[in-house]
Symmetry: C2
Subunit: 200 residues, 2 copies
């Protein structure tokens, strides 16, 4: 029996997957969580074989949860299941030592299959990503990422500089180098590129 904790922020989707997994007779959903904090708590309380988690959730993302569990050397295998085929997400997931990465676009059989294979010690990665990710690493520095995130909120350089306690010129420099690295034409495009690759 594979004991699973399921984390997903949309209530309907969460319960839909939960009942679906319960239909498999070698899988048991021992707890569900609606955000990252709850996921961590559930894992610590129930000690499941596998944590099956979405990425984009409130409070703590699925990637953050995976990282924390790795840091704490918690004995649980993590499977990420997400909408986003972003190479940066996969890279961070691998860095956090996750055992599986499945796309919500794939048929559910892939999900159940991944759970079984992960449980038996294998690592499973969505094929369309396995290739893509083996190209580019995130070229951005921490500060460049900080600036880009605020750019995405529509803040002008003056306010970005205040929030990060930097001079306005420095903000311009970071942004300029991020734009260069991403081959973007301006701040907005740079943000869009970084977001779509999962760098933020």
């Amino acid at each position: 029996m594979i004991r699973v904790v399921l984390a997903e922020d949309q209530a309907m989707v969460l319960s839909a997957f939960a009942s679906l997994l319960e239909l498999e007779d070698d899988i048991e959903v021992v707890a569900t969580a609606a955000n990252g904090e709850e996921a961590l708590a559930a894992v610590n309380e129930h000690r499941p074989d596998v944590l099956l988690t979405d990425i984009e959730m409130p409070l703590l993302s699925g990637l953050d949860v995976a990282q924390r569990l790795a840091d704490e050397r918690t004995e649980v295998r993590v499977v990420i299941f997400t909408t986003f085929a972003r190479s940066g997400y996969l890279r961070r997931a691998m860095d956090a030592g996750v055992a599986g990465y499945v796309l919500k676009d794939a048929p559910i059989t892939d999900l159940v299959d991944a759970l079984r294979r992960v449980h038996s010690g294998e690592r499973v990665v969505a094929p369309e990503l396995a290739v893509a990710a083996w190209g580019e690493a995130d070229p951005l520095t921490d500060r460049e990422r900080d600036v880009l995130r605020l750019v995405g909120e529509g803040l002008p350089n003056s306010e970005i500089s205040e929030r990060l306690h930097l001079s306005e010129g420095t903000v311009r420099n970071y942004l300029s180098s991020a734009i260069l690295k991403l081959s973007a034409r301006n701040r907005t495009e740079a943000f869009a590129f970084a977001r779509d690759k999962g760098y933020l």
Copy 2:
């Protein structure tokens, strides 16, 4: 028996909901669709009582599908189920004459409940939205929306003017008035506001 066509672009989520609905003994999923075009085709072929559809899908959005069905006076009640609590989405849904609007954040019982009530002639709208939407209508003109969409892709004014066959000054004017109407500080923030309200 309520005959339902289900449209949702993420394969896993689609089949999860499909099997969940099949568990109800007064609901029958007669067809599923992975995008707007398929949804229209499925409705025309199967003539279901209800079309249950996501909004953000490839080819044709759920709102577009609802609008088309209304234009063609097709005899089917539409229920939107989406992640996004955006007032603009709800407004467009109401304009397209949909019978229900449910959030994926709500418990699944709400979904099944909505299907039953819609089938019996009622209209159902997620309570958190019913209130919010009764405030602001979309203040933007068509051209302002056109410009904002391209701004979101990170294009500079020069290129936006080419794409829309306008002079660059005109683009600046539209953008300036959109920024004013949305009380934004710059193009990026204006885009973010418009997107978050569902105006685009």
